[in-house]
Symmetry: C2
Subunit: 461 residues, 2 copies
């Protein structure tokens, strides 16, 4: 906490220009100074504006530990992008410098070709195996989220022993956030957990096995995120130990790591719901990759749209007779789509909060159908009145207003239920809710407007 | 960690029925047992399915500390809902039982009438003033996020003094997560921070002022969330002390609290982007409130939709002559809307990651315009070909494909830029991006299809 205060205003273009000059002049000291004096945000923005060649040269220029620091400060998709662009030998050196959980995360996100090439460049066989093991755990499992910075003591040590060890070898521990110690038996199996607080507050002659919490709740490397969330929600701990299939201590998974993973899940959900699939997109990625990933989501959407359009096509005669309907067709489907999206968002939120479960469809149906009738009447009346006045036809108003009313009831009900059904059938609601809902409400909207118009045709023409 | 393992399968309806019976029979013991054996999720779901009257009776039945435990386990919007429904005197008792930061948060979310009524029912004048002060801090400020569970020592104490105090009065500290101690002078002004680790590892005869980090970075009660995020991103600490305008220590704000607040901001953004405004909606809320809040967002949407529809209305003659256009109008506007949403999501994400800033519009424009040309050509070709084959008219294909191509370029560019512009003009991008973008792409889509058709009219009829 002795650093100079961060500068409030940052002159980014000037900083970027100086960095480019330092790279061109191969001036490692200047490059270091420019980056070290930049905030994390500025580092991210500067890097995103360097071209491929300059990034590579910058990484070769800096000492490997500084490159590792820089990589650690970048947003994860940026860091992955840079490692994939780097020569494998340099990337391997960088990964060896990073904390094990960070390099595990990055390796898992790299494409297979890059990660294989990098792993084969790591000289230390143990380190390479550790990294391979870490990268093998699922991203959102205890193994993928754990930190291996865990301090353990044998169960027959005394409080005085442990305090003396900590006092004498402070240097060994000062990098860790030491809050809990783990207690193991001779075969490294976990037997207890000892809070630093209890150690400090404990009588000095006690054996730590008397102060420890025995048979602690622990997680296995393959425990999934949802289960971890439940664990932390139901128990007020900061971390749980993680053991392998043989009960041997492998690391700890912290509340902070679980919360971060949950927040990333939310971000992923948001991005997927807006049609960004196959991982995050950064504008520094190659154009062709950005295009093809966006098209991968838009393609199926064309088909769904065609489905909806075919309804209009089958009523062309009706439309031909009352062309004013064409003005209101998109309005009815769009307004209903919005109503359905609201209901879907409430369902997804209530699922996240644990207030409803996928099987609670009856409750959701009843709640939404009432709301749909209410809002449907209000919106239907408003749009119907507008249509009647605008086009001077009460019957047109009745058709449009009636269609919007019925379609609102339909779309809020479907909107509320679709995420439940998708969740039940193990399809990702964030990804599929939007397109499915839009297609349903478009089809029903077009159908309602045009078939009601057909019924009232004699009064409309 | 000595509790029985949580039951894996929960029979919720049975549990709910037993709770209702306990409430009807005024059996506090049974009600307690049922709730105590339920997971947090089950408690949330059971409560959401109790009606108003039973909730009130449950709260009166349970001892006030158990009611407080229950309220603390609920999702925040549920807890707020319950407090608003409760009699003010009971709500005041419950708030007095809760940790200061929790009751401060809840008070801030209550409507003014309820919070005034509850505060006036709190007997202890100091407590009432404390709560009023806390509720007065902005939700996403250091004051609103801080915990007041902070342990401080005078700067002239020695390591041995502090360890002895901790050892002798363990009971006073055992509820806190003691990791950092704060060091103050005689007027309670903050002079330093002492990590528990450094205390434990320190020589026993040293004065804590020699081990402490002097003049620590601290935040003021009015420091905003964005600034707190920067602080934690640039410095690897778990917490910062919070002082008032006179430098007096008021509490600590932790990394976890800041992360949680950020994650809530993301959730709010997601809900707003789907049209849930004015706070979260739970299906247990009164129908009339749910309806009116959803309508508050749908209302302005009707106006925006009318704007778009007026384009179609002004081309009714064109449409009348080539009725097939009506089939493709919604497709062109919907597909472009999707493309624009993708670009908008990438911008909002890059803003969150700190990779771009609101003034980087030129960079975003250039990146998106290229992508737009690329994807526009692909999508335009596909939809144009479909239109040409389906309706047997090459010229119709050219009109539809050309319109989709041009409108894709327009919509990804606008979609990428709208969040930047909104952010620059201090409008919430999550709330306004969607409707503004949809209106723009609808209008331009309708205009492009119909005006191109007008130009090619002789070949279309």
């Amino acid at each position: 906490m002795t650093e100079a205060p961060l500068p409030k205003e940052t002159d980014l273009p000037a900083r970027w220009k100086r960095l480019v000059e330092a790279i061109e002049a191969s001036d490692a000291g200047a490059a270091h100074d420019i980056l070290a004096s930049a905030t994390v945000d500025d580092q991210r923005r500067i890097v995103s504006q360097l071209n491929l060649d300059r990034r590579e040269r910058l990484c070769r220029l800096l000492p490997v530990d500084e490159t590792a620091d820089l990589i650690e400060n970048l947003a994860e998709p940026q860091a992955v992008e840079m490692l994939e662009e780097m020569q494998a030998d340099l990337a391997a050196d960088v990964l060896e410098e990073l904390p094990a959980d960070v390099s595990g995360d990055l390796l898992r996100e790299l494409n297979d070709r890059s990660s294989e090439a990098i792993l084969s460049e790591i000289d230390d066989a143990d380190e390479s195996m550790d990294l391979r093991e870490r990268a093998g755990y699922a991203r959102d499992s205890a193994g993928g989220l754990m930190s291996d910075q865990v301090v353990s003591f044998p169960q027959d040590a005394t409080v005085a022993d442990v305090l003396a060890e900590l006092g004498n070898n402070a240097g060994n521990y000062s990098d860790d956030e030491v809050q809990y110690f783990y207690v193991t038996d001779h075969s490294m199996q976990l037997t207890g957990v000892l809070a630093l607080r209890n150690l400090v507050l404990g009588r000095r002659d006690l054996c730590i096995s008397e102060l420890m919490i025995p048979s602690p709740v622990c997680t296995r490397v393959d425990t999934e995120l949802e289960e971890l969330q439940d664990l932390f929600e139901n128990r007020n701990y900061l971390a749980f130990p993680v053991v392998d299939e043989n009960g041997r201590l492998k690391g700890i998974v912290s509340r902070a790591a679980v919360n971060e993973a949950l927040s990333e899940t939310q971000t992923d959900d948001y991005l997927k719901s807006r049609g960004i699939v196959g991982g995050e997109e950064l504008r520094s990625m190659p154009l062709i990759e950005r295009c093809s990933r966006r098209l991968a989501w838009l393609g199926p959407n064309i088909l769904l749209n065609l489905l909806a359009a075919s309804i209009i096509a089958s009523y062309e005669d009706t439309l031909q007779s009352v062309i004013a309907l064409a003005v209101f067709l998109p309005m009815v489907s769009d307004m209903s789509g919005c109503s359905g999206n609201q209901a879907g968002a409430v369902t997804i939120r209530e699922l996240t909060l644990g207030i409803i479960q996928p099987r609670d469809y009856l409750r959701v149906f009843l709640k939404e159908v009432w709301l749909g009738m209410n809002n449907g009447m209000v919106l239907g009346f408003v749009l119907g009145a507008i249509a009647a006045v605008w086009k001077g036809s009460v019957f047109l108003g009745l058709v449009i207003g009636g269609a919007l009313m019925l379609n609102t009831i339909f779309s809020v009900t479907v909107g509320g239920l679709v995420p439940l059904l998708l969740k039940r059938f193990k399809v990702d609601p964030a990804l599929a809710s939007g397109p499915i809902l839009t297609t349903c409400t478009d089809m029903s909207g077009f159908f309602l407007v045009l078939s009601l118009a057909n019924l009232a045709m004699t009064h409309l023409v």
